[in-house]
Structure formats: C-alpha cells, structure tokens
Amino acid sequence: MTTLLTIAILLLVSIAVWQITKIFQVAQLNQKVDDSQVANDKDNDWNGKLMFAFLVFIYLITIYSFWAWGDVLLPESASEHGKDYDRLMWISMVLIFFVQIITQALLHYFSYKYRGRKGLKALFYADNDRLEFIWTIIPVIVLAALILYGLYAWSNIMNFEEDEDALVVELYAQQFNWKARYAGADNVLGDANVRFLQDFDGLNLVGIDAADPNGLDDVVVQELHLPVGRKVIFKMRSQDVLHSAYMPHFRAQMNCVPGMITEFAFTPTTTTEEMRQNPDMVAKVQKINKIRYDKSQELIVNGEEALESYQFDYLLLCNKICGASHYNMQMKIIVEEEKDFNAWMAQQRTFAEVIQ
C-alpha cells in the first residue's frame, strides 16, 4: 500500500514536471508574439474559465467529502447537554454552508464573467452606502442571534449546580495516563496534593491527604465507570504538565492544570451497551473492523501479529500537548445502569484499605 502510494505520488510529481516543461516550451514559443509577462486576453480567458472550474471544484470536494466521510462527523451524543450542543452546531453549520455556497459562487463567477479583454473599460463604481449598510447589518443580526443562543447554552453547561445526588469524580492526569477518584460513601473528595504522592511507598496514587477523614473512603481507579442518567461533576487535577480531558461523545472537555482544580459536569444518557447497539455505531464498528481485518492480513504475511478486533467504548483522550506519549494517553469510560455501577463500586478498595 505504502509503496503503491509513494509510486503514485512520484508519478504525479513527474507528470507535473513534464507538463511544466512543456508549458514552458510553449511559453517560449509565445514569447515571439508577447513576452511582456503581463496577462493578455488569452491568459485572462483561460484563467477566467479555470476560476469557474475552481468553483465547481470547491462544490465537488464539498459534496464528495460529505458523501465519503459524512459518517465520521460529530458522533451521536451521549450526554444531556449534547442535544443542545448538536442543535447549535447544526444551525451554525447550515448558516456557514449557505454563506459559503453563495459567496464562493459570486467570487468565482465574477472572476470568470468579468475576465478582461483589451479595449473594455471597467465600471467606475466606488461606493454605495446603502449596500454597505445592508451587508453590515445582516451579519450583525445573524451573529446577535447566534451569540444569544451560544451564551444561553454555554451558561447552561458551565453553571451547573452542585446538587446532592450528583456523583463527584476527580479526573487525575499525569504523563501519560489517567486516574479517576470517586468520593466514596460521603460523596466528598478528601484533600489532596502532590506532596503526599510519595507517602505509603507510592500507594497513594493521586496524593490524598491521609489526615483528612473525607479521603479515607475515596476510591482510586484506572477505568472510569459512570451510572447512566445521574449528573457527574468532574474535578480535574494534573500532577505535572497541562493535560486536557476530552470526551467527544459527551461533548465534554476541560483542561487539567497543575496547581488548580478545574470543573466540568454532564449527565450521561446512553449506556455503553446501548451505544454499541446504535445502528450508526454498528455500521462504524463494522467499517473499522473491516479495515483492521485487511490490515491484519497484510501484517500476517509479514510475519507480524494480527490486530485485535474492535469493540466500541467511550473515550477519554488527552487533548493538550503533554509530551512524547501524548498520542496514547487514554482511559476507557463505561456508562452503565446504576445497579451495575454500584456492584462495580462495591468491589473497589477504598483509600483506607489500600494504605493499610
């Protein structure tokens, strides 16, 4: 595959060079007639037509991209505010495409239509206050509407209340992995600081202050389990450099900053199992497994191990450059029914048990 593509590229480049030389020769011939290097009628004509062709190209690449890759866009949301987010996104997208289609059409059509000819004179048209007022005021109105909707959604997402039954979870980032800390039975996270990391021979994975009673029932894990339908308030920490907790399916992201605690909250609406049954997701996973199967065949021929087949899981990725293994800093998220969550939680060891 790689060799094939390399050859294809080399071929394209050599064709380009060949064409260039050829056109260059033609240019040399033309020089007897016109060597001014200023565009003449012929240049205006063919470049004007290419401008029109370029408009078609922009439309085609847009249509092709949606046809070929439309299925990768914005995966189905799995959080409560995700619906709002997606609605705002699609409104913005429709608006953008509307403006894009019209302005590109005008720009390239004018470039084609008014391509120059000797002897023609352009229209002396320097100003039109009314026209300019119109195209200032229309963006003002449209943007005002977008700003209002955006701010409304933003304040709904960010100004969450710390209600009693919300689950409090700490996301803890370090080069290059994630840990999660649950607040335990009291639903209050114990104090923590990097100074405590070396206590208990490195068993204190996220630096909980053993002197704080709230911390003793805390549970530290390497896999994030969330009960469906219950609000989760995340408290983010980092022990070394900036990281960013990015959970694309939940439309959630927040930086983890050493020295401070950042927050984000959402309510998961779809369990991992349900998401795996989602028809779009089934199609996507099939597609991915087909790709992995084909690649495995290649690997086996080369005497390497085949790739494992893929099963969907929610993702937590690091999305702030953090060093060499930034590209592989991830944690599995499992959204499940409350009872499954409780059963899982019951099996975990609390901080007090770990340090004993």
């Binding site: 056109i23 987010y85 120059g116 229209l123 320097a126």
Partner: protein, 587 residues
C-alpha cells in the same frame, strides 16, 4: 543592480549587507523569509508523511532526521519538535517578518512618497536582529536533545521543565532567546513604520488618500507595538521560572518521582499573556495580506476598491477588536466561564468587519475588466480561503461549540485556511506584483499560473478534509492515531491529505525556480508594468538610495482612480493633477 546614481560612494558591504536602504532591506527580509519558509514547509511535509503512514520507515527521515529517526521511523519527540518549529517558523519568521517585513519596508516609503524610512539605521538593526533570531532558531535544530517541542504556544509546565520532555532543555532556551530577539526586531521595525507613515508622507498624501496597503501596514505596526511586548514579558518570566527557580507559571508539580519546589504560580497566567499577543498576531499576519490584496485586486480589476472608507474602518475595527478576543483560545483552560461569555461576544463581533471586507472585495470584481495576472489569481484565492476559513471561526469563536472541537483538526483546518494559506497567498500576490519593483525584472507568468493552480487545488485538498477528521474528534498534535482503533476509519483521509500536501510542496519548487531564475534572467521590467496608480511605479526601475532622482512627486488624488470617466486611459496615477472641473471622491 546596474548603474549607481546615488551620490554617496557605496561599498559592497554597505549596499548589500549592512544596507540602510529600505528597498535592499526589504529584499533581505524576503529572501530570509523564503529560506525560513522552505524549512517550515519542509518540516510539515515530514510530519505529514508520518501522519499518513504512521510508524513506517522512510529513507527521507533517516537522511533528514538522522539519529532522531532510528531505522527510519520518526521518534514521537521529534514529531512534536517538528510541529512546534513548523508553527513558530511559519507564524513568526515567514508570515510576520517575511510578509510584513518585506512589504512594509518596500512599500511604505515608495507609496507615501518618502526617500526612505524615518530611521534607516534602526531599519538595518531591525533586519539584522531578525537575521540573528533566525540563525538561533535554526541552530536550535541541532541541539543534542532536540529543539523546542511543546507546541508553538509553548505552554508551561511542559515548556518549563526539562524533565517533562527532551525538547524543554537547551532547545527551549534557544527558542526563547530567539523569540526575544525577534520581538526586539519586530518592535524596532514597527516603530519605524509608524513614524514614517505619520511624518514622511509627501505633499498631498493625506491619510484619506493613503493606499489600503499602507493603512494595513500602519495599523499592523500599531498592533505589533501594543501586543509583542506582552509576549516578551511572558518569555522573560518563563526564562525566570526555568533558570532562576521563580514560580510565575508553576505550582504543585510532581515529576520523575520528585516534588518540585514551585508554589503559587499558574499556567493559565501564561496562557493569558501568550494569547494577548497570540491573537493579535493572527491579524499582524493577516492585515498586510489583506492590504496587498486590496491593492492588487483594484489594480487588476481596473476598478476602484469598493467602499474605501468602509475598508479603512474595518481595518481599524479589526485592530481594536483583535486585542480583546484572546480569551477564545482559553474557553476550556479553566478560566471563569463568565469570561468565556465575554470573549464569545467580542469574538463573534469581529466577524462583522471581516464580512464587510469580503463583500467589498467581491463587489470590487463586479463589472471589472479583470487582468488575471498571477498576483491577481493569488488575491482572488486569498478572498476564497479567507471566506472558507473565516466562516468556521463562527463555530470556534462560540464557547459552547468550542468545547468539542477545541484542539482538534477542525481548529487546524480553520486557522491554516484563514491565516496560513490566506497570508501565504498575500505573500505570493505581493511577490508576483512587486517583483518588477524589487528586482527590475518580470516573473514568468506561465510558471506563476502553474504555481497558483496547483497550490489552490492542493490547499483545499489538504485543509478541507481536516474539518471532517476534526469533527470526528481527532486531536491535533498526535504523533499517530493508531492508539485509538476508534479513529481507524480516518486513516484514509490522512493519506489523501498528505498526498495533496506533497503535491503542494512540489508546486512551491516551481515558484522558487521562477523566483531565482527571473531574478537574473527575467524579462526587464517597464516602469509601470501593471498600469498602477500608486507612487512606487513613478520611481525609476533602477534602484538608488533616495527613490526619486528629482523632486518627490506630489499627490493630487486617491490611489483608486481606475477606469474613471473623463480620462482616456483606464488609470490615473496619484501624482496627476485633477482635470478642470474633475471631482475627487471621498474627502
């Protein structure tokens, strides 16, 4: 450059090396910028290969990266170093110094009718500081542990702690030193531009008769003076944290099994300082390109630029707004969400002057007599990418929508189109248009057409698909996407992008060949090859210090009297007095 009519005796050194002539300094900026551009674009091709065919051995890696590509496979640290230096070089060295430095220097004195910059000496120092910073930046590539690799935004603690990554050692020190010198260079240059525009305009050249190029350069210089010092302070504080144990940006850090002493600092403070320059920087890059476009579009459309006053007003509005929108880079940095609301508001406001500019450009073309020279094609291309890239800003500037696309390839697509490609097109338009002024010779137009069309197709080919992988949730600055099977279906798109990138890279060789060949063997230029109105075309083709042999021409009209009724020719240069009874527009 032919006969020397200057009355001082000039040696080789004072003429070509330590020159105080703005035209020579502009050429020095351009050529240094182009060399940096070759390095910057070359790096992007290397990491594009890695992204399309991750962890595959390439001979080119072995030959270019040496020990950093064991067995020809790129090391993750080197990948990060490449994206970091690519970003730094392209934003600062090519699109700030290479674009603004070249054309502000060339055009400010020539278009306002001045014999040189206000201070030729400071101008010379400005260039040589830029040269020095370029040398240091390039030298940092050869450091034992590798160059800076914390992203071009160099957020601490990653950039502050040598334990965090190899690139944060000597490589980062050199990066900071290089940038500090670069900022000094930029400030000297900007002050000079401002003073020159204010004080040295020729008789009759009122501010409202200034060509839009000069308005753009003038306002750009003001933004630079306002915001670059803040980056300098950020860099100095970071140097203190790194070398003298202060805690401006660092607190509560445990790394490599050790608790560090830093207490009370905040990385978020650095982000504020960085983006206080970082966002205006976008406009420092873009406004000169838009200024060049205004000039090239009007000249080649043989029409006045539409809405001159609105264009000036939108430049001023953009400049003002650009200094109060920096927080939109930090919606999810952990700053107060209320600030996010404020920055969403100011950010979306900036779409209004931008839209006005785009509409005015399109109307300038309407009913024109378009001379589709290569410079004109690049200017039209700029308007196209400026619209495509600018529109997605509506999504990224909205704090809500930013949550899920922040730091993904969607952002990469957005800013490459709206500032990278657009500004690069502005640079190319400028070079094609003013090459005759700079070198007294014409660039070959056929090669120019080839260069434009391949570049234009590839620019969309590279950056349009990136919107899709970004919307799919693929983060930027990932060495490889193989760690997430979830992204396996995006691998093909990455291959497509890389193929377009390689072809685009090859097209730039056509430009370089044309540039170098035409410099020596191009057709000799006439005095005013594009039949333009601005003053630089009244100066003789042969360069000499002082620009005009006799008196400086006087200005009697604005720069955009193209196809004006009542005149035989379709252009009326600025120094031609008004006819009897002729009315001047706009004053």
């Amino acid at each position: 450059m032919g006969a020397d009519v200057h009355h001082h005796k000039e040696t080789f050194v004072t003429k070509y090396i330590f020159s105080q002539d703005h035209k020579m300094i502009s050429k020095q900026y351009l050529i240094t910028g182009l060399i940096m551009g070759i390095v910057g674009i070359g790096m992007s091709l290397l990491f594009r290969l890695q992204l399309a065919w991750p962890e595959q051995p390439f001979g080119i890696f072995e030959s270019t990266l040496g020990k950093w590509a064991p067995d020809g496979v790129m090391d993750p640290n080197v990948y990060l170093a490449l994206v970091t230096i690519h970003g730094t070089i392209m934003v600062f060295f090519v699109l700030t110094a290479g674009l603004s430095g070249t054309f502000s220097n060339l055009l400010i004195p020539l278009q306002i009718g001045a014999r040189d910059m206000a201070s030729g000496f400071l101008n010379m120092i400005s260039y040589w500081l830029f040269f020095l910073s370029s040398v240091i930046m390039l030298a940092s590539l050869f450091v034992e542990a590798g160059p800076a690799a914390a992203g071009w935004t160099i957020y601490p603690p990653l950039s502050a702690l040598p334990q965090a990554q190899p690139g944060s050692g000597l490589g980062m020190t050199l990066w900071l030193v290089s940038m500090a010198i670069f900022i000094a260079s930029s400030l000297l240059g900007s002050l000079n531009y401002i003073v020159t525009v204010i004080n040295l305009r020729t008789k009759g050249m009122s501010m409202t008769r200034l060509p839009l190029t000069i308005w753009a350069f003038f306002v750009t210089a003001i933004i630079g003076v306002v915001s670059f010092p803040v980056l300098l302070s950020a860099a100095l504080l970071l140097i203190m944290d790194r070398s003298f144990g202060t805690s401006f940006f660092l607190s509560d850090i445990f790394i490599q099994g050790e608790v560090l002493h830093y207490q009370g600092g905040s990385p978020v403070l650095f982000e504020h300082l960085f983006w206080f320059l970082g966002h205006p920087e976008v406009y420092i890059v873009l406004l000169p390109a838009l200024g060049i476009t205004s000039e090239v579009l009007a000249t080649n459309a043989r029409k006045p630029i539409f809405g001159y006053r609105a264009m000036v007003a939108s430049i001023l509005a953009i400049a003002f707004l650009s200094t109060i929108v920096w927080g939109h880079h930090m919606f999810i940095s952990g700053m107060n969400p209320f600030l996010g609301s404020v920055f969403t508001f100011t950010t979306l406001l900036i779409a209004i002057p931008s839209a006005v500019k785009a509409f005015n450009y399109i109307t300038t073309l309407w009913k024109g007599n378009l001379q589709l020279n290569p410079a004109m094609l690049f200017s039209i291309g700029l308007v196209s990418t400026f619209i495509t890239g600018g529109l997605t800003g509506i999504i990224l500037g909205d704090s809500t929508l930013d949550i899920n696309v922040h730091d993904t390839y969607f952002v990469v697509a957005h800013f490459h189109l709206v500032m990278g490609i657009s500004a690069l097109y502005g640079l190319f338009a400028g070079v094609y248009h003013w090459f005759p002024k700079m070198f007294g010779r014409m660039l070959n137009k056929q090669l120019g057409y080839i260069h434009f069309w391949i570049t234009a197709v590839c620019a969309y080919g590279v950056f349009f698909p990136m919107h899709f992988i970004g919307m799919a949730g693929l983060p930027r600055r990932y060495y490889s996407n193989t760690a997430f099977p979830y992204f396996d279906d995006l691998a093909d798109i990455n291959v497509v992008i890389t193929i377009f990138a390689l072809i685009a890279g090859a097209a730039q060789i056509v430009f370089l060949y044309n540039f170098i060949h035409s410099m020596f063997y191009g057709k000799r230029a006439e005095m005013n090859p594009w039949k333009s109105n601005t003053l630089e075309w009244t100066a003789p083709v042969e360069h000499f210090h002082g620009n005009w042999a006799g008196d400086i021409p006087e200005v009697h009209r604005w720069a955009y009297d193209y196809s004006k009724p009542g005149h035989k020719e379709d252009f009326v240069p600025q120094h031609i007095p008004l006819n009897k009874g002729e009315e001047e527009l706009h004053h």
